[in-house]
Symmetry: C2
Subunit: 188 residues, 2 copies
Amino acid sequence: MRFLEEMLGSFGALEEIRALPIRWDRERFRFWLQQDYPFVEALYRYVVGLLAEAPQAHRIPLVHTLLATVEELDWLLAQGADPKAPVHPVRQEYVDLLAEMGALAYPYRLVFLYLLNRLFLEAWNAHVEGDGPWQELSEHWSAPEFQAVLFDLEVMAQGQLPHLDPQVVAHYLGRILEMEKKTWSLLL
Amino acid sequence: MRFLEEMLGSFGALEEIRALPIRWDRERFRFWLQQDYPFVEALYRYVVGLLAEAPQAHRIPLVHTLLATVEELDWLLAQGADPKAPVHPVRQEYVDLLAEMGALAYPYRLVFLYLLNRLFLEAWNAHVEGDGPWQELSEHWSAPEFQAVLFDLEVMAQGQLPHLDPQVVAHYLGRILEMEKKTWSLLL
């Protein structure tokens, strides 16, 4: 968490996202998973783009990250997500942001991949609880294997800091936080 | 093996490769592994290119194929391969062929990925034996996990057959076989 907190600096947006009075239930979960599909598909493409440029030392954690997105897509399909369903404008905006960030230099893309994952998990842990079909996903994300991949991504992201312009990072981090807030607000 | 044999049709090249009087020893293995590095690096890029276009149902076996190339690169490095060493012209020719095939349509690239892997393994099994530092690699390729990935690739490749022009397949298969023969002939 230290790295994330340093990057967030003066951004209060994570606290705002955590504090959203989300009403989480089976109906909202169905909406969430349908809208998660196009986002995870975009994330898959984003990670493939990273793998195309990754040095050998970064590849294993990135391949495991890619595998996690493929497994999540399978899981969403098994839960009834329809890949051809219309995409909510808020999700489309996030998908477009990912595509835009996919054109940045490798060090930025790697750092944002870590931050995206970390922010999402912080919000998920703050809002998702109780019994339901989402437990399998919660268990997946809290499993030691996935935590180990996240830890590797964090170490790799920290290694990129000397190559980053803090203003560029702040710009995109602000937009990622805005998209996370908008996305979670769909469940109010 | 049926699929491979059908694709090979009138090509006698696999038998020729199997019949090469290779002298396999530690010295030749050192040469082989150094020259294998740039080829596996090219194969890594080839598989990343496939993942960029793969439908969801193809992604898990392709991610596992990618993971196998990353692990092989790590293994080659651990055995002393130098990523900056000069590349033998024969290996460079094979690397260039992979890059050329990387521009083909997805169904061809998928079929050739399977055929490349299969042909290599047929040749490896015919030529590599005895005790030595290569046993770990032999065990990796004969492990049930890798055999399962190859089986998945074969099924996926067979599913592409209706989309292929047999003349294009024959052209590239001929060139792949030529490169395999040239590569193994470096060990005579």
